[in-house]
Symmetry: C2
Subunit: 236 residues, 2 copies
DNA sequence: AATTTAAACTTGTATATACAAGTTGATGTT
DNA sequence: AACATCAACTTGTATATACAAGTTTAAATT
């Protein structure tokens, strides 16, 4: 497929990358909109559309008369993002262990969410991961994705990459919204064993239904988190 | 002060109000962009800017070739919003009890967040609220706001209105971003008593630092939630 | 020297225009 | 009747232009 990104998205991707890679650091001013126009050979409305997106996602803040100031921290996926947590900790200290490798399953519901007939027919890609921070298991997440035109997904390695980065770069799928429910609970025995905690230990549970730019593709995710040492952190 | 809102914001406010008041319901199509142009006597880029905002906040979804589809549910304040929970439950079933009325206090930190010298000097407006759903206490929140040019705030009644609605309509202050930490914990004795639960009962804790469009004004909020029957719910 | 003023930046708002691309329904054709 | 085509919608992208409004810097004035 061709699928050339629109210019404002191209500029957005470049600036976003530069911020993440440290070309621009927190507190820095981006080049002015007119300079960006010259650099990328587009007009100001196009540049402003790219910048609007960076503002919405929390990468920059704008101040009239002054410029675009780099915030640095990514917004994450709407709410609290594990990737946000990841980046806050530094990747080298985080280990991902696949408990259940991506496999095809039948389903008729996704956690506390109901699914459509279409989703039921497609079946779901299912996997479980345990995230270990400095030797301590902190996150356990279960993900369900309807098996709709995601070639070679089952053979992808999820250890070191963010699911959403894979979807974005490999399949051009972006998160457009979603809903979530958050509980404080005590995990079951399986979870107590995975987290190595006693019965009755408080655990955070997060059920998410994540809508994407591909119509019909909704991702369902359930995350358990031991917040003893590491809180679930996010910017918005 | 004059402070006439820009046209795109005026259109945004009108459409937002109409969605919330049920002029347009979930699943409905908004008038097309060209029709909205005619209605509000502005050009399409202006209308599109208003719609962009509604999309970002989750009020509508757009589909090329079709139109703008009303989602209905508000996005809330970036993350999970109590107002979102409120609206999901229906206001009549929610009772707010003021535990500590808004008062001026000294402070040198806000929960797990540190504060600036300027904020420290200004002192803080402090209040505590308990939210009761169908007779069951579910939320307990503590709020700290630096006392910076918020006339008559101390005499406002917070029982029936959202704090953020007050800030937006009365002081033209909007939330621009923030950060938060979420824990699963067991509440202290005060909280056990407020929630009427046993010791060791899992409770959700949420520390939020909320930045606003008024420079220097950051709101600090700590929320405890008993998620036995009602999960913290939010869309994004 | 201190203050005021103005110029030269910055982002914010708004218009007018053009064409691309997706959706829908009506009109033909088979 | 079923299908294909087309026209008339819809939103998406992009340009060119203009002026308003906030910030900073430098020049002019006191």
């Amino acid at each position: 497929m061709d699928s050339t990104l629109p210019q404002y998205k191209q500029v957005y991707e470049i600036l976003r990358k530069h911020i993440l890679e440290g070309v621009y650091n927190e507190g820095d001013l981006l080049p002015s909109e007119n300079e960006l126009c010259a650099i990328h050979k587009v007009t100001r409305p196009t540049i402003r559309k790219a910048l609007d997106r960076l503002v919405n996602e929390g990468y920059i803040k704008k101040q009239q008369g002054k410029g675009s100031i780099v915030s640095g921290k990514p917004k994450g996926v709407g709410i609290l993002s594990l990737s946000g947590t990841t980046s806050a900790l530094g990747d080298e200290k985080l280990v991902t262990k696949i408990i259940v490798k991506p496999e095809l399953r039948q389903w008729d519901h996704a956690f506390s969410f109901s699914i459509t007939e279409q989703e039921k027919e497609a079946g779901c890609i299912y996997f479980e991961r345990l995230r270990i921070v400095n030797g301590k298991p902190v996150f356990f997440d279960t993900t369900m994705i309807p098996n709709l035109n995601l070639p070679r997904f089952l053979s992808l390695k999820l250890e070191n990459k963010s699911l959403f980065d894979i979807l974005r770069t490999r399949y051009q799928i972006e998160v457009t919204g979603g809903e979530q429910k958050i509980f404080a609970t005590t995990g079951d025995k399986k979870l107590q064993k995975l987290f190595n905690v006693n019965a009755g230990h408080p655990v955070l549970q997060l059920d998410r239904k994540i809508e994407t730019s591909r119509i019909g593709l909704t991702i369902y995710s359930q995350v358990f988190c031991n917040t003893d040492e590491y809180a679930l952190y996010g910017t918005f």
